[in-house]
Amino acid sequence: MTFQFNSLQEMWAMAGHGPYVWTAVLVSVAVLCWLLAKPIMQHRQALKSIARNLQRDGGQLDKEQPKKKNQSTPVSEDNK
């Protein structure tokens, strides 16, 4: 197994095919990264908004009654 190019520049150029190969690589990497980043962001946001809702309900974590009734609290309070 040998490095196929004499220099990094040469590898970037790929004997004229560089633009094609590297667009393919960059777009692929971008799409794959997006596919991982998106759920991670969603996960974080979900945790955050659940925590915020809990806080709005009075900060009590009630394991016994997960479906505790919540007297409708004004929505405007939660943007702290």
């Binding site: 777009v27 969603q42 915020r52 806080q55």
Partner: protein
């Protein structure tokens, strides 16, 4: 009844919480595996694999193109099976998996098309030809987009799930038909001037990195699917105790702020 116990595993697996906790344990390993395979495969393929006699360096796109194409196709079946399980056994988790599989599959199909098109320019001199396989890949993209569009068109989560599950199933019946008919159409209309399989047997030096990349994408697929599903679980189960507990652990400061 005896069968009662043997179905236990099935029901346990259907529990979002079980899924969340189990996959939580797998995740670190999957991350390591995916990144290792991906980096190895890419560096090997882009820098160390010998260049193709006919196509030169442009052939290196194969290391992205072929794995993406494989997973795009396999992903559809995963999505459809998840949908079927959801419809038949009314399993919530299964719908969540289906919903997660749709964007991943669509993105990979897009990648297969994109890398193929970019590859086509240096090799065939054009970005696009109406080849049988390419056409059926395009149709696959449309099927994915249909499932996605349907999912988001409904306000009610349940209705969206059921509708897209039915569509995915109908699509599954159609994929082989589509593939066969497009294949037949192509041979009917025009002699095979361009063959995707340029070389029937690949040199092992070229093939080994390809194998690594295929494995890398499988592992990536599993990782992405699990991540998407976990995010979905959190959103849907936000009213259950265990998710609330998780949220509070993750953001203790916010929850504590109230008592002051």
């Amino acid at each position: 009844m005896a069968s009662g116990r043997s179905w236990n595993w099935f029901h346990r697996m259907g529990s979002p919480r079980w899924f969340y906790e189990t996959t939580g344990r797998w995740l670190p390993w999957l991350w390591v595996l995916t990144l290792a395979l991906m980096i190895t495969g890419l560096v090997w393929g882009l820098a160390f694999a010998p260049q193709d006699a006919k196509q030169g360096n442009s052939f290196r796109i194969i290391y992205l193109h072929v794995p993406a194409s494989f997973l795009a196709l396999a992903g559809y079946y995963i999505m459809a099976i998840a949908g079927a399980v959801g419809l038949i056994w009314k399993m919530k988790l299964s719908y969540m998996v289906m919903k997660s599989a749709a964007p991943i599959g669509a993105a990979l199909t897009f990648l297969a098309l994109f890398t193929g098109a970019v590859w086509g320019k240096p090799t065939w001199g054009t970005y696009w030809v109406w080849d049988a396989r390419i056409t059926s890949m395009l149709i696959l993209l449309f099927l994915y987009l249909g499932v996605l569009a349907l999912q988001y068109a409904f306000h009610s989560r349940e209705a969206g799930n059921k509708a897209s599950a039915i569509l995915a199933l109908v699509g599954t019946v159609n994929i082989p038909i589509i593939y066969k008919s497009v294949d037949w159409w192509y041979t009917l209309h025009q002699p095979a001037t361009i063959k995707l399989t340029s070389a029937p047997s690949m040199h092992p030096d070229m093939f080994q990195p390809l194998l690594v990349m295929i494995l890398a994408l499988y592992s990536f697929y599993a990782l992405a699917l699990i991540l998407f599903t976990r995010a979905e679980i959190l959103q849907r189960e936000s009213k259950t105790g265990w998710v609330r507990e998780l949220a509070q652990q993750a953001h203790p400061a916010q929850s504590a702020g109230v008592t002051k």
